[in-house]
């Protein structure tokens, strides 16, 4: 074999590679093995193509294109119907909000997410007016409550809602900053209204969300129809995919809702870069009932970089412990201790 610039071996190696992508029959696989065994140059050329192929997996342009293709498929799915519903299910799945009720429940329920980031009015506990209930959570606490009509509400950290159920109306008001996701039982005779900031949203159909943050309130409809009214007299009926953003003193903005905009807080994620372990432990203890303790106080000074979701707490803690040569021990009460490994046993 004469040594050309671009050897036939390189060409053969590429041919084998693309044939292998197509799937080799046992006979072909045998032939490939023979070819590889025939010379070290064959094996080297083949390894080179394989390494290139492997590297392509990291290329940003190719990965970006794959993501764009995935996004295009998602858009098609949304347009094709059912996409929003499956998206919603995906968003809610981690909390098993709808899973418990099954598909029938989804059809008969609405999910409503209300996002606050500002501390709101001071929490006023309602006087003993029978039907009025106040629910609130501490910082970082996530809690699910069931309302009298069968609706369920998941409250994010530092959230307070006031619920007034009457004979012909169901009214919910967010009275302090925070986040809440409502899964509302359908009851045609008693419309369900959520008041958030300057907007109130009344359920006409099925699924929608409300966001509020520093002076801005938004309502987006996932499924069905929702009537939105503003203090300034605005009034609109939103369809699936519609979203209205209201800012104080400005006209409403109408936009299309992106599927990834809702209920993000439910996946509360903590991220730390080079922070003392003691800070992380303090944050985690707002979320984790059992609590996390340090075996000795000096461990608190260790610098840690990590990012995790609350429901991945244990994995994250064991990762942190591992990377510092520490060990994570479960305590009887459901808590954790991070400590230096003791002598064996």
């Amino acid at each position: 074999m004469s040594a050309a610039e671009e050897t036939p071996i390189a060409t053969q190696a590429r041919d084998w590679h693309v044939r292998q992508l197509a799937g080799l029959t046992p006979a072909e696989a045998g032939a490939l093995r023979d070819w590889l065994d025939a010379s070290a140059a064959h094996a080297a050329a083949f390894a080179q193509v394989e390494a290139l192929w492997s590297d392509l997996g990291w290329d940003e342009t190719l990965n970006a294109q794959a993501l764009d293709r995935a996004a295009a498929r998602e858009r098609r799915a949304v347009r094709g119907g059912g996409g929003l519903r499956s998206w919603l299910r995906a968003v809610l799945r981690p909390r098993r909000l709808l899973a418990a009720g099954g598909a029938g429940l989804l059809a008969a329920a609405l999910a409503l997410a209300v996002f606050f980031t500002l501390p709101g009015d001071p929490l006023v506990t309602a006087p003993g007016a029978g039907r009025t209930q106040v629910y609130h959570t501490a910082i970082g606490e996530i809690r699910e409550v069931e309302l009298a009509d069968g609706s369920r509400v998941t409250l994010g950290g530092r959230t307070a809602i006031r619920v007034d159920f009457g004979r012909d109306a169901r009214a919910v008001r967010l009275v302090a900053g925070g986040d809440a996701l409502f899964e509302v039982a359908r009851d045609e005779s008693r419309p369900f209204t959520v008041q958030a900031g300057t907007l109130s949203a009344t359920v006409l159909g099925t699924v929608f969300e409300v966001n509020r943050s520093s002076g801005t309130t938004a309502v987006g409809v996932v499924e069905g129809r929702v009537r939105v009214q503003g203090q300034g007299g605005g009034d609109a009926v939103l369809q699936a995919g519609d979203r209205i953003v209201a800012e104080a003193g400005a006209p409403w903005q109408r936009e299309q809702m992106q599927p990834d905009q809702a209920a993000r807080w439910m996946q509360t994620r903590l991220a730390y870069r080079d922070m003392p372990l003691s800070d992380i432990v303090a944050d985690v203890n707002r979320y984790h009932a059992g609590g996390v303790r340090l075996g000795s106080a000096d461990l608190g000074a260790l610098r840690v970089t990590s990012s995790f979701r609350i429901d991945q707490l244990e994995t994250a803690l064991s990762g942190i412990a591992l990377s510092h040569g520490l060990e994570l021990v479960r305590t009887g009460d459901g808590g954790f201790v991070i400590r230096r490994p003791g002598p064996a046993e």
Partner: protein, 170 residues
């Protein structure tokens, strides 16, 4: 940095999850774990300063982690036949985020060559390499024959190898 990460996460996690689920299903391994690992790697590497398109990079890390996990679990899905036919070929993707970054020069040269490929060849590589579709699936989506797909990918690889060989003295 925390704010930057939160922004990144908010922007990209849903799209990443969707792409991973489309490719791998709901798991196990859990695509959410893959995303978490990808973000952790991203932080560890201090990658923010070095990666031009974090979303694609995070996706690559998450995807490669999924593949590693599947291999560890012995659940090989689409890799199955390929790896059964020849154990020699079972070793793939030994690359990690770390050595990808350490050989950044090679990767930027490769990236330039990839961008110079004809659109069709690039799309075929995306489908085969990134999405790991079979030739049959690719043929269905593109209308090309399987032989045509082989030919186009081989041509693309020729161009990429040439680009790596000429530009880089090594």
């Amino acid at each position: 940095m925390k704010a930057e990460l939160e922004r990144l996460y908010a922007q990209h996690s849903a799209a990443l999850g969707q792409a991973l689920r489309w490719r791998f299903g709901d798991g196990p391994p859990d695509p959410d774990d893959a995303i978490q690992i990808a973000f952790e790697k991203y932080i560890e590497l201090g990658a923010a300063a070095r990666v031009e398109r974090p979303r694609a990079f995070l996706f690559a890390m998450a995807r490669n982690w999924m593949i590693d996990e599947l291999r560890k679990m012995g659940v090989r899905q689409r890799h199955a036949e390929r790896q059964k036919t020849d154990p020699l070929l079972a070793r793939v993707e030994e690359r990690t985020a770390e050595n990808v970054l350490s050989s950044k020069e090679r990767f930027s040269r490769l990236n330039a060559a990839i961008r110079a490929l004809p659109e069709r060849q690039r799309t075929l590589i995306v489908m085969s390499r990134i999405e790991e579709l079979s030739y049959r699936q690719i043929a269905q989506e593109t209308g090309l024959s399987q032989a045509g797909i082989s030919r186009e990918i081989a041509r693309a690889l020729t161009a990429l190898q040439a680009a790596l060989a000429t530009d880089g003295e090594e």
